[in-house]
Amino acid sequence: MISVTDDIIIRAVARILIPFIQVYALYVIMHGHHSPGGGFQGGVILGASFILYLITHGLEDAKERMSELKAGLLSSFGLLIYSGIGLLCIIEGSNYLDYGGLSTILKVIPAQARSLGILGIEIGVGITVMAVMYSVFFDISTGGILPEDEEDLGEGR
């Protein structure tokens, strides 16, 4: 189990760095369509900030900020945004994920609707990747067994 580190340098650096990492991740997600990056890369950076918090501040604090349940819900929520935008395009009469059809809902020209549609898709992908990265790291670092479960399992594991 990962406990809080007793080195003040690591804790202070992580506390200062984590907000900047998250703002940078949002920049990478938002600028995905005209610079390197996009939903996946931004999601990985966003997940890395949570992993940095887990490493430096321990499992107990990290579980209060982002529990496994929250990570699971967020990963499903990102997928819902992705497929929801895709299905909205079908409802508007174009193909799946053909964002030009969104122009009637958003009341803009089709070119602008395409730009906004791909932005929504990337936000959904970013949320999903962040949650899955965090939950994979969480599961690997605890071995799938949380500290409160260990009393139930006893010595026999």
Binding site: I2, T5, I10, L17, I21, Y24, V28, S35, P36, G37, Q41, I45, A48, I51, L52, I55, T56
Partner: protein
Amino acid sequence: MSNFFLLFGMGLFALVFLCLYRAVFGPGVLNRIAAISAIGTKTLVILLIMGFIYNRVEMFVDISMVYALLNFIGTITAAKYLEMKGEL
């Protein structure tokens, strides 16, 4: 000016191999972690130099910042792993 960047990048490229020697044969885990961290730093400088050579620095700055970030987190994670295993 492009020639200068090219030569500088090639020099750093040669230095990466010296660090790689330390990462492969280095005695102990700590030497290896330090060598890999140094390789990551050199790689991000090489990425920036590539940006200057191709005249697209604004693209390569983004990539090199991500590289620096993940290098930092990777080093801390490896150190934490060793601390948990009690090798330090």
